[in-house]
């Protein structure tokens, strides 16, 4: 160990494990003495369905290098259908990470049953190696990336995305209020488009929180066409989430309305 390179990057990995399968699988892994790297820190939840995108994205904001979600295999969920929702939410989380610029591979969803002790060690070993290869998360050091991950987090909390993703399964399987089942691919398209929009709006709010900014400035920082930024501004103003500051003779700028700690 003496000649090991000094201060090799040790990833910080958070694992959210469901009580009935993945946590139990990790227990069995221990009982069977399958070894794996020490980097993962497990948090027990009753079901993977408990993990909202906010929990994951907030932990990325706090600097986690990787997040592993463990659930029961599809069809085996202790709570019948929980992991179906997990799957949909993870898709959203990954889309949002992509938007933010943080590698979506830093988030991994795995089904590990209570009998798959060895699989748990393999998953953790492989995931740790992958994260090691990706290197440390720059969220805390790179302001731009930090803002964008914060925006992803904000977007995940919007009514539109939560309602869409929450209802996705039922809209596809059971149908909408009129009994029409929606085409899954079509619905995914709608969700993806909404994800992009909500991310951009959330980013505008993030960037304009401390400092009023013009549409042009926002367009440049965000690398989004100004007409698109303006449309978002209009929508945000309608929702009373952003305010215009318009000193005479100057370009209007916009500042996020912060309500006493509440979003």
């Amino acid at each position: 160990m003496a000649d090991a390179p000094k201060a090799e990057f040790e990833p910080k990995i958070i694992g959210f494990l469901c009580n009935w399968c993945s946590y139990a699988g990790a227990d069995l892994c221990g009982v069977s003495r399958y070894q794996y790297p020490t980097n993962i820190r497990a948090v027990r939840v009753m079901c993977s369905t408990r993990i909202s995108p906010h929990l994951v994205l907030d932990i990325f904001r706090a600097g986690a290098d990787g997040v592993l979600l463990g659930g029961c295999h599809i069809g085996d969920c202790h709570y019948i259908s929980g992991n179906y929702y997990t799957e949909k939410r993870v898709r959203l989380m990954k889309r949002l990470l992509e938007e933010s610029g943080l590698e979506p591979e830093r988030l991994r969803l795995e089904w590990v049953s209570a009998s798959e002790g060895e699989k748990f060690s393999k998953v953790v070993t492989e995931f740790t190696e992958n994260i090691r290869r990706l290197g440390p998360s720059k969220v805390r050091k790179d302001q731009r990336l930090g803002d964008r991950v914060a925006a992803a987090d904000g977007a995940s909390e919007t009514f539109r995305l939560k309602a869409l993703v929450g209802r996705e399964l039922n809209l596809v399987n059971k149908g909408n209020a009129y009994g029409n089942r929606l085409d899954p691919a079509e619905l995914e398209k709608i969700i993806d488009a909404s994800t992009e929009e909500e991310f951009e709006r959330s980013l505008i709010l993030e960037l304009s929180r401390g400092k009023a900014r013009s549409v042009k400035e926002l367009g440049q920082i965000m690398d989004v066409p100004t007409d698109r930024v303006l449309r978002h501004i209009v929508a945000l103003r309608q929702k009373n989430m952003i305010a215009m500051e318009h000193p005479e003779g100057f370009t209007p700028t916009y500042k996020t309305i912060v309500i006493g700690g509440e979003q």
């Binding site: 958070i14 892994c29 408990r50 202790h78 709570y79 929702y85």
Partner: protein
């Protein structure tokens, strides 16, 4: 639990007990250093190490420290909560601490046992895990477990064999039962059947005592020609509306519900000449013909098994049809003389009688030899010509599923009686057609690798049992799931076969998949005994691990109600979401879904989970 109350705003006083578990943890983690480290964490007022925390002196040290140091949070860092949490929780309760203020940190299965060669890193991880536990413990709140009364009245939906068994069992235990049957008669599917395999007795006679018992039982209220119109509520407190056909619904309060709505026979429209040629019938139709004694005159009968099942229309094996076909094959052979009389009396559907050209003496001789009767020569044999020479029964099957003791014996009996079992594969399905006014079956003989054609008088199609087409309505009403094939889905295929995941609702009989009568009775009795548990106890206690709605944030959008697998959310008078504590299992789906962020879980709040996770990201101090 009044003595266990801990003030919400009280400043946390945390005690940490780090277990060595002999050398299981101590051998791979530096326990003394870890325990010392725990003392440095915020709000930790006491930390110690035990050789075995779960042993009596370990538990004693927890009790003592709670008193001595006035602890209001306890953390044990040892093995897994999945096995040991109840023990430590009970210890806390015993010392007057609400059990929901206990936190488990797993440093054995998740640490010492999986990092056996890196003591430094394993010790660092153990410290991190305890720091995470402390972060969580600081935010915990005491919880009270809700107790809900259970109305000791049962509802059984479906008056078939399983439903009647369930109703009679509950009634015998002394619970009033409402039995709802949409037909005018009890008995369900079995009413259609002729006799039941293994026994010779007629189906009607077999179930008559059960029907009489149900009809005469003082605890059973029969609702014939009636359906359940609506169901509201949760375990112990259901309000059901039962309405007779075309009549006004009446409201009843029940505590538990047994679903036993049965199944239907799959109609093989377009398969094997069904509905195209006369005398191509399903197994159940055949039974009806037998029962009503209106069989046509037959000399050759072909059964075709697995019609529409096992990957053709339905994916599953219907389990019972092999045995039903074997039973009927034996019936035909055994009762040939008997049936022939019936046939002649009843008249025939098929004009022309079998064209199996009269077997020559030579052939008969060969057949006898094949059956090992060769040595008994002479006229006597001729006279004793058994029925099987007069009638030919062929069962075309993919595999014969004669499981268990009796069925295998019955199968062997059928073969002794010269019922032919011809195997077919999906590549060579038998074909049924009419030629020169004669029904014929063409099949591929798997051994001879030849296509053969035989004339038959009747083709009996063994079709699977399929789910009731309106099972979906009931499943929505009860908020219990259906499986892929439309049958009701039990809570656990092995361990909870007659429970639904939703407490207070149970399932029995063919509405959860094909079953024979023995199984239907077993399930009916099992469902009744499961349903009796909360009713006999009189109350249910809900673990305080449930969703909580913040009414100031809820907008009544109803998304949570849609996603809850237990029907544990409903709208209250204000149109806002309300948790039915007795029905909630605490999975957290609603919390993660709520578009307004108005729902959280007791002791699995965002704040607690985030504090726990983020504590892992801090550098050790």
């Amino acid at each position: 639990m009044a003595e266990n109350k801990v003030n919400d705003v009280e400043k946390p006083r945390i005690g940490v007990f780090v277990c060595s578990c002999g050398s299981n943890i101590g051998g791979f983690v530096d326990v003394p250093t870890v325990a010392d480290y725990a003392k440095t964490l915020p709000d930790v007022v006491y930390a110690t190490q035990n050789m075995y925390t779960c042993a009596e002196d370990g538990l004693g040290s927890i009790r003592e420290a709670i008193r001595k140091h006035n602890l209001n949070r306890v953390i044990v860092a040892s093995c897994t909560p999945r096995t040991h949490a109840p023990l430590f929780q009970a210890t806390c309760e015993g010392a007057g601490l609400n059990k929901y203020l206990f936190t488990f940190v797993n440093i054995r299965e998740h640490c010492s046992w999986v990092h056996m060669k890196e003591k430094d890193l394993a010790s660092k991880k153990a410290k991190d895990l305890i720091r995470m536990g402390v972060a969580r413990a600081r935010l915990l709140k005491p919880q009270e477990e809700a107790k809900v009364d259970v109305e000791p009245v049962g509802l059984v939906i479906g008056g078939g064999v399983s439903g009647m068994t369930a109703a009679a069992s509950l009634a015998d235990m002394g619970f009033p039962v409402h039995l709802v049957e949409r037909e005018g008669e009890l008995g369900g599917f079995v009413r259609l059947l002729n006799n039941l395999y293994v026994t010779e007795k007629s189906a009607t006679d077999t179930i008559k005592p059960l029907i009489d018992k149900v009809k005469g039982h003082k605890n059973i209220t029969l609702h014939l020609n009636s359906t359940v119109k609506s169901i509201d509520g949760f375990i112990g407190n259901y309000e059901v509306v039962i309405a007779p056909k075309g009549g006004e619904g009446k409201k009843f309060k029940v505590g538990t519900i047994v679903v036993a709505t049965g199944a239907l026979e799959f109609v093989p429209e377009g398969l094997y000449g069904y509905n195209q040629y006369p005398n191509v019938v399903t197994l159940t139709e055949f039974e009806i013909l037998c029962k009503k004694k209106t069989l046509p005159k037959l000399k050759s009968v072909a059964f075709i098994q697995c019609v529409g099942s096992r990957g053709q229309k339905m994916s599953y094996c219907s389990r019972i049809c092999c045995n039903v076909a074997i039973k009927n094959a034996i019936n035909i052979v055994d009762n040939y003389e008997n049936m022939l009389g019936v046939m002649e009396k009843a008249g025939t559907v098929v004009e022309k009688i079998p064209v199996e050209k009269k077997a020559t003496d030579e052939i008969l001789e060969r057949r006898r030899r094949r059956r090992g009767r060769g040595e008994a020569e002479g006229e006597a044999e001729e006279v004793k010509l058994g029925p099987s020479e007069k009638i030919e029964v062929t069962v075309f099957n993919r595999d014969v599923m004669a499981y268990g003791v009796e069925h295998e014996l019955t199968y062997n009996k059928a073969r002794e009686k010269r019922v032919k079992f011809n195997r077919y594969t999906l590549d060579h399905l038998p074909k049924v057609f009419m030629e020169d006014n004669q029904l014929k079956v063409t099949y591929f003989h798997e051994t001879l690798k030849l296509e053969r054609t035989m004339p038959v008088d009747m083709v009996v199609l063994s079709t699977p049992l399929v789910a009731q087409p309106d099972a979906g309505e009931l499943s929505k009403m009860l908020k219990v799931p259906l499986g892929q094939e439309g049958f009701f889905l039990e809570a656990h295929v092995k361990l909870r076969p007659v429970d639904f995941a939703t407490d207070g609702i149970y399932v029995a009989g063919t509405c959860k998949g094909p079953a024979d009568i023995t199984e239907a009775v077993t399930q009916g009795a099992a469902a009744a005994s499961r349903a009796a548990i909360p009713m006999a106890k009189g109350y249910v206690q809900a673990e305080a691990l449930t969703s909580v709605v913040d009414e100031t944030k809820c907008t009544g959008c109803g998304t949570c109600i849609e996603v809850c697998p237990y029907g544990a959310l409903r709208k209250n008078d204000k149109g806002l979401a309300e948790v039915i504590v007795a029905a909630c299992k605490g999975c957290g789906c609603c919390g993660a879904t709520c578009p307004e962020g108005a729902i959280t879980m007791t002791n699995y709040t965002d704040a607690q989970l985030l504090a726990e996770a983020k504590a892992a990201l801090q550098e050790e101090v």
